[in-house]
Point group: C2
Chain length 111, copies 2
Amino acid sequence: MTELDPAAGHLTLINTFDVEPNRAEELLAVLSRATEETIRHMPGFISANLHVSRDGRHVANYAQWRSQADMDAMLAQPTARVHMREAAAIARSFSPIVYDLREAHAAGAAA
Amino acid sequence: MTELDPAAGHLTLINTFDVEPNRAEELLAVLSRATEETIRHMPGFISANLHVSRDGRHVANYAQWRSQADMDAMLAQPTARVHMREAAAIARSFSPIVYDLREAHAAGAAA
């Protein structure tokens, strides 16, 4: 299970795909297969968490990497690039943004 | 610590704020205070996880709620609305999207 812990120091990549609702499940399947077959075996990969919006118009990947260098190395891999082109061909557009997790707040306890 | 578990059945709200880089920390502080003082005490709140992008142009809140009804009740609360207006006044724009977490993939183990 993925844990969100600001103290872990992971890089967080949130990639939000806009998609036609009738293609959301197809996009989910492509991202799932890319993660299982290729990306999760790469150095520095921590987790990928795939979401489908309730209106079917968005698919989001909340992914954790050890470092920017590890993520950059993945992005340069030919096998990863094939998967990304496949996902890009299904989505209308996508927006990858690299974050640091700064705070985690839970119900009934301080951050 | 926040756990991402598809079997938990939580609703996920990813709210992505666009912001001028010199106001990212101010927006983070407003969202942090709103969460601590108000939102985390509301029924059905599970977690809020605040991120700042490495380029300073985005702040993202990855929040978990028990249900759509709980989140809707929060959105209708006057105290929550005051905090949202405060955040909206600092951000250039924001995009809240409601998701279901479908898959969590970890390094070296099946989903």
